[in-house]
């Protein structure tokens, strides 16, 4: 009479992403809106509110947040003179929910945000410590390393801008993720262009000029639906003491990531342990957390957590793989680990399969979808709440590590990467090493 393909469900599930697309800080366009454009913005506003109202899992909370504000914001869109003003009104309504994964990516900016031309890199990763921007990692052969910047150095100025007041402003926002995104922007630009950085080393302050390098051709570019392709970075190393180290910059591109992960653990199954680095990983396809976790567990019936939509609940079930990894696993996390990274970390910790090292994650773990609005902008909206198997809701809270390793320039200078070193010591059963606070 009727047959329903089971595979259709997979596509529908794939569409849900736990990816912090980064919808902040982008200036709206200031051109005056034509009457046709205004109509498109009003339609987009109505479409946005309709979709969220249809899917939001807690209608009472939605009503509490939106109440009369919805009409007020709609009026603002109607009265907007520019696209920037119209978007500001839409963002105001989204922000009133005080949740991650509700954002608007302007049509023109979505390219800039996720792909060229601003995907040139300085080759350094910054994190905040006591109101200071500290270099915590240098990419091998990157512009920063070549220019003599060292891990543990402090960045005082980007171009002509002092970082301290901005760091203060970002920390006041209460979001752990905001400084991560902002500092990432500070370390990226158009390939081939230059930017000055005022750097404080262990002995002196100096100005370093960096030329942004395009992402290596070794990194495949992967996209997802409406999001433009971005460079996928997969790093594999064998650390001293025969420990397998894997790093992944996002949960996208399963055709690249899954075989890479499988090959790495099969080739090094005699290694003493695995360190999987999810620091700075903003998430991606939730299903990939299940897929990767499948290599790390042996038994059936394990779930990472539950996605609670308005209509039903869906479990992030893990399918154990044949010949998976049975040795110890350490996960490295920090305030830049969001969404799918958090789902994976908390889920595997709940069953005691991993030990977490680093700092509390972003606290942005809601499954979401990305859809194109009539005006061409992309709306990201969460369509489900998420709780781990132990019942922990990570949104706004994050995943706490088992061993906290703060950003400490002295420790960084001594150990290079204290969290990584600490995790290696744990796998090898060694005493000493970097300072950590055990939770």
């Amino acid at each position: 009479m009727f047959r329903l393909s089971q595979l259709h469900q997979i596509l529908l599930l794939l569409v849900s992403v736990s990816f912090l697309a980064g919808c902040i800080g982008l200036p709206g366009r200031s051109q005056t809106l034509s009457s046709e454009q205004k109509v498109l913005f009003i339609e987009s506003f109505d479409e946005m509110t309709r979709m969220i109202e249809e899917s939001f899992w807690d209608p009472d909370y939605l009503q509490e947040c939106w109440g009369e504000l919805k009409d007020e914001c709609r009026d603002q869109v109607e009265e907007a003179r520019s696209a920037g003003e119209a978007r500001a009104a839409m963002r105001r309504l989204l922000a009133s929910l005080k949740m991650s994964h509700f954002g608007l990516i302007p049509d023109s900016a979505s390219q800039e945000l996720t792909g060229s031309p601003s995907d040139g890199e300085a080759g350094m990763i910054l994190r905040v410590s006591d109101g200071r921007a500290i270099v915590v990692r240098l990419e091998e052969g990157g512009a920063a390393e070549s220019a003599g910047i060292q891990s543990g150095d402090e960045i005082l100025k980007v171009g002509e801008r002092d970082l301290a007041p901005r760091l203060q402003e970002w920390s006041e926002s209460g979001s752990r993720y905001l400084p991560i995104q902002a500092l990432k922007s500070a370390c990226s630009g158009e390939p081939g262009t230059e930017r000055d950085y005022l750097v404080r080393g262990s002995t002196e302050d100096r100005i370093v000029t960096l030329t942004f390098q395009p992402p290596s051709d070794e990194h495949p570019r992967v996209g997802f639906g409406n999001i433009s392709p971005v460079p996928l970075m997969m790093e594999k190393r064998i650390l001293e003491g025969d420990i397998l180290y894997l790093r992944l910059n996002m949960f996208l591109g399963p055709m690249h990531v899954m075989p890479w992960f499988e090959k790495a653990i099969q080739e090094h199954k005699d290694a003493k342990g695995l360190i999987f680095d999810l620091r700075g990983n903003p998430g991606g396809l939730g299903l990939m957390a299940c897929g990767l976790a499948g290599w790390l567990i042996e038994d059936q019936g394990f779930e990472l957590g539950t996605m609670k939509t308005k209509a039903n609940e869906m479990n992030f079930v893990v399918n154990p793989r044949l010949d998976g990894w049975v040795k110890p696993v350490a996960l490295l996390i920090d305030e830049g680990s969001a969404s799918t990274s958090e789902i994976m970390a908390q889920g595997l910790r709940d069953i005691g399969r991993v030990r977490l090292f680093g700092r509390t994650t972003a606290g942005a773990a809601l499954p979401s979808v990305l859809v194109k609005l009539p005006n061409g902008d992309i709306l990201q909206y969460a369509m489900a709440d998420y709780v781990s198997v132990s019942g922990k809701r990570m949104e706004g809270v994050g995943v706490e590590p088992d061993e906290v390793i703060e950003v400490d320039p002295e420790q960084i200078r001594e150990f290079g990467d204290p969290a990584l070193t600490r995790a290696a010591y744990w796998i090898l059963g060694k005493a000493g090493g970097p300072k950590s606070e055990i939770r």
């Binding site: 089971q6 595979l7 259709h8 469900q9 529908l12 794939l14 055709m255 992030f316 399918n319």
Partner: protein
Amino acid sequence: MKSENRWLWIFALLLLCGVCTPSIAQEAEEAAKEGAVAEEAKSDEAGKALLAELQEKSIKAVGGKEALEKFSSRKMSSKVKIADAGLEAELTLFVDSQGNYRESMVITGYGNFQQGINGEVAWSLDPINGPRLVTGKEKEQLIRSARFQPNLWLTRDHQSATLAGEETLGDIACTIYDLKTNDGAVHKYWVANDDGLVRKVSMTVESPMGQIPIQVRMSEYKAVDGIQYPHKMSMKQGVQNMEVILNTLEHDAEIDAEMLTLPEQVKRLVERSKPKEEETAEEPQGDSAEESSDR
């Protein structure tokens, strides 16, 4: 003594009442049960009769029993689109009357997501989760979905049908039926009053992730070799809308032998899981010998 006797008598009376009371209740309950069983039997009978009637109507609507039994396999290819999310996939399917089934969905950049039934083995294989043996309710559902001609299986795959109302979809007046599957799930079918074709289905499907409610609208029915197939299906699951457009459909087409063999990764899984399966002694999925030759 008299008073003692009196108390004994009252005690005996209470005792009797104590015994009698549940006995009366039990009798009443049994009478009610009998009534309910009789009612249930009557409604079961009515449900089965309606199901048989619906099967007959559906077979006639799609082209008749002769047309449905004329072929022994079907190959289809479709385009799947989730326009809102900017995603597309190519779906191919093979199914035959012997119960072999293979479905493959290739999503650009994500790989090939496959599912199949080979003999007693129901399986799935995808680039994210790897190989998996499909069991339990999910397997029953997969077997139902993989019928070569599901219209011929309506009375065998379901317990009963009940009328659940009427609704006009667009300009098509439909009767709504609740069909109860053999495993107890209730699926809603909207059947057009004029031509008897199914226009909408609402069901909760079993998946490894749990139960997923889904609605499907069927349209653009066209006959291929005298059998009506919907050439467009629009699905809604939560906030997601998906469209499936049928591109090609062939009966008794030549197929690659690979279609009928288990993928290597699934074979390994079957080998490994044999002792476990023997321990749990999985029940047969309602496929008796006489049924197995006509899926």
